[in-house]
């Protein structure tokens, strides 16, 4: 009686065939559609048809909300990547050997589907594994791709798809050559070269000017030592609210800072350095005794006040710091 279950299932299959199109038919239908334009744009009904239970193909469906009304930034950022991925996939797999259908369902076309899936956010990428056939998965439930790390590139999604489709061809993502960008770059390059040649006699004295280089060096040193790279890498906010409607310029904690804060600190360092430079280099060159006395007091005073202020700021950042100078005790 071994053949009995097989027979029964075959009977069932014929039974469903009568009601619906067969899985093979559906695949060919959607595959032809995707050859015409990929990804396939779905509606309520076609979504149900594509994902209905006995299927021997895989369906990757992006549920998205492109309409400007929904203000889904991530959806719009991901859409070109998704289009690119599905186009290059279909192009590399015209015969449908990978048995993968890539499709998109927009919120405005499939409100009911979104409701029934209980989706609160978009975009969501579902991968419906085959339920019958050689690649059938144990569970018919779709696998969900998370967009937790912001917008994903086509390559990342491609790697994820490939991982879930073993033993099948994975046509690689082919980015079209961006001609505009190439032409633009070439033109700009040629233009700037010409400009450089023309302007050379005027630029040369600037390049050879020691003051310019000194200024560049000092500014970059001040930037780096005031934690600019931390802002770049961590993407810290510029300022932050204090919870009472005001603004805090200084982040609490030793390992933390705001963008504005580093600028203030860089300015303080700058003032201190400049005071030191002025006292060393400029003041001894003032020939008038009275003017020199005033300059010494001004620069020396500025240095003292600024250092005192810097120490007081540092005490804010590091609670247990014991040292201070008047007047900012």
């Amino acid at each position: 009686m071994r053949w009995l279950p097989a027979f029964v299932s075959a009977l069932c299959a014929t039974g469903t065939l009568a009601a619906k199109k067969s899985t093979e038919q559906r695949f060919t239908e959607f595959h032809t559609k995707s050859l015409a334009s990929s990804p396939v744009k779905l509606l309520d009904a076609s979504y149900r048809e594509l994902t209905s239970a006995p299927r021997d193909y895989t369906a990757a469906i992006l549920l998205t909300a492109l309409d400007a009304r929904f203000g889904c930034q991530l959806c719009r950022e991901f859409q070109p990547e998704w289009d690119l991925l599905s186009k290059s996939w279909v192009k590399g797999d015209k015969s449908g050997d990978s048995r993968l259908i890539l499709a998109t369902l927009d919120f405005s076309d499939g409100r009911d589907i979104f409701m029934s899936l209980g989706l609160q956010t978009a975009p969501v990428l579902f991968l419906f594994p085959p339920t019958i056939g050689p690649h059938a998965a144990a569970s018919p439930e779709p696998i969900r791709y998370d967009f937790v790390n912001g917008p994903q590139s086509a390559e990342q999604v491609h790697a994820w798809l490939s991982r879930h489709l073993p033993d099948r061809p994975h046509p690689p993502v082919k980015r079209p050559i961006n001609w505009i960008k190439w032409i633009f770059t070439t033109t700009m390059l040629a233009g700037s070269l010409t400009a450089a040649v023309v302007a050379w006699p005027y630029v040369l004295p600037i390049i050879q000017n020691r003051n310019v280089w000194a200024a560049i060096s000092l500014i970059s040193i001040l930037l780096f030592t005031s934690g600019h790279m931390f802002n770049r890498i961590r993407g810290v906010p510029y300022v932050s609210g204090d919870g009472r409607g005001g603004i805090t310029y200084f982040a609490s904690g030793f390992q933390n800072q705001f963008g504005m804060e580093t600028q203030i600190v860089a300015a303080m360092y700058g003032v201190l350095s400049f005071a030191a430079i002025a006292l060393t280099v400029k003041v001894p060159r003032i020939a008038d005794a009275k003017a020199q006395g005033v300059a010494v007091l001004a620069w020396g005073g500025a240095m003292f006040l600024m250092y005192s202020f810097l120490l007081s700021i540092f005490r804010v950042k590091n609670g247990g710091y014991p040292f201070s100078l008047p007047p900012f005790m």
Binding site: D146, V148, R163, R210, N211, A214, S217, L218, S220, I221, L222, F224, T225, S226, G227, H228, M229, F230, R232, I233, R234, F254, Q255, N256, Q257, E261, T262, V265, M268, Y269, G270, L272, S273, F274, A276, I277, L279, T280, V281, V283, P284, R285, A287, D288, A289, Q292, G293, V296, L297, G300, M303, F304, Y307, L310, F314, K317, N318, G320, F323, L325
Partner: protein, 750 residues
Amino acid sequence: MSADTLEVLASAGKGQSTRTVLRFIILSLIAGAAIASRLFSVIRFESIIHEFDPWFNFRATKYLVANGFYNFWDWFDDRTWHPLGRVTGGTLYPGLMVTSGVIYHALRALTIPVDIRNICVLLAPAFSGLTAFAAYLLTNEMAPSPSAGLLAAIFMGIAPGYISRSVAGSYDNEAIAIFLLVFTFFLWIRALKQGSMLWGALCALFYGYMVASWGGYAFITCLLPLHAFVLICMGRYSTRLYVAYTTWYALGTLASMQIPFVGFLPVKTSEHMPALAGIFGFLQLLAFLDYVRSAIPSRQFQTFLWLFAGGTFGLGLAALVIATSAGFIAPWSGRFYSLWDTGYAKIHIPIIASVSEHQPTAWPAFFFDLNMLIWLFPAGVYLCFQQLADEHVFIVVYALFGSYFAGVMVRLMLTLTPVVCVAAAISASSLLDTYLNVKSPNPEEHQADDSADGSAKKAAKAGLKSTSKPVVGVYGWLSKGSVAGAMTVYLILFVLHCTWVTSNAYSSPSVVLASRMPDGSQHIIDDYREAYQWLRQNTREDAKIMSWWDYGYQIGGMADRPTLVDNNTWNNTHIATVGKAMSSREEVSYPIMRQHEVDYVLVVFGGLLGYSGDDINKFLWMVRIAEGIWPDEVKEREFFTPRGEYRVDGEATETMKNSLMYKMSYYNYNSLFPPGQAQDRVRGSRLPEVGPSLSTIEEAFTSENWIIRIYKVKDLDNFGRDHASAAAFDRGLKKKKVNKKKGPRQLRVD
């Protein structure tokens, strides 16, 4: 008292020999201060090796001393990275161990009996004294005033940025590497200034020593060519540069290739390419052209030659790119590359991003480590622009790159500190020299010359704008006194700051923790050593210990037991395996542990004491690293609640609660508290009433303050049951029987 004695006293410090003696005494005192300020931890705790990496260095040194140099060179260590082992002799920088070994044997030869541990503990302070001296020499090459060198020496000696890696007991590569760095730079400047092959060869020798000691040698390998390149761009090519650079490069590269760990890297990897193909090749070309130019006077021919040089340079660059893409030259190594593309490490190499000292630096860290030097530093760089000789260009280039790197990675504050000390010393000394000059100018004299000063102005036009006028000097005692007084206050504040920072932040061994009792007395928390001692005394000698990689070196050094992974993170997959075992359910972890023959699992838990550096806080990195290898089995997302929070209390996700790490950390923790009151003091959350239960491992040891918890991995069950049901049986739960459906009872009536 006769007039003669007064005369002698007044003239003291003026003669050349007196000055030398004074300078020697001052330098000795500075070295003494540098050493003394690093001894806080020895006085407060004991002579003990600190932290993590030093424990490996210490273990390797002991091996070297016990087995001799050749055995050390061929050392294969089968007690780490079980079951892979590590070719330790070929994968470490041997400079540090060999240095201690030489000192040990030298002292032995002098019949001074000293323990190798004390040499290791005190090596870093001893070398800091030498670093101060090297900073003195380097600064003397830059500044005309000898006081700048002395200031640089004291800055270098006590700057917290350097102390952070060189307190007593911090037996790490950096301990000797910073001395070698500064000294190599000094020798390079000397060689460049004199165009001397001898100094160039010495520079190469110390460069070789540096390569043998620290992976940071790449900083020198990149900085010297860059300096040469900038000099060439400024049109300062000279035979001095040619001699110094080629001598250093040829001998230095040969020396560096003697280290097995470095081997052929200097000719194969991208980070060494600027030194080789870039500047070394370019200098040969320039030398050739220079020779041709001196032989042929034709103007057009020279233009042609320059074009030829440019073309060759371009072709060479293209060849380099092609060789790289064809795979002959390895591209930038990830660790190095992440310095430029700062987002790279986070995506591709989480293991690098996970280390706290690889994080970017916030501004308070700069001020904390350098205090007033941080604002004297730009002033010093500006003063370098005033003279801008070849050696000043070096300071400018070093300052720019050093500050960039220090901004990207906290750890590289160490390479920035020397240049900050040198530049700040130049600035401070010229400020003090100006205002401490007893002689005041005569006002009338200068007012007169001011008008007839056209010639001086023209002469100074090439320099900075601010130096176009002649130096007059400072009038008046008030000006001198106020500036000198303020400067003294700043310097005293600097010394106080350095002492305070060293004593409070950088002198903790981290193996032993200190806390204050309510009455103010010190209480030592010694859980680490307690646990390692337990392992040493209660487990078999070859019992394998699984823990997160941070503790690998300590287990190897203190408990002397084989480990699966350690701080030499050479095999990411193996680390990910441990991460997976920690972050999966018991049923998944158990086979992994069996396959790796794990006998004990060690976790660090700070919940009771409020010790924040524990494993639950590092847990996400374990998950991330494991996810990098098994993206389908370990998912970071599942350790966060739907609202995106990382929680350990009742609201924690199921994956979190079932992970081995969570269970091991909180197992039996409830029993310390009244029911329902269990609290985690690090994360400040209340734990669920029912704690986790364990079936495949059992608690073996928990230290006094619960910081270290050790679990024994159970053997297979005697009756062949799986562990979960065996544990359930032991707890007295009945095996659930499948109830067969029976019909309702009926009274049988016959």
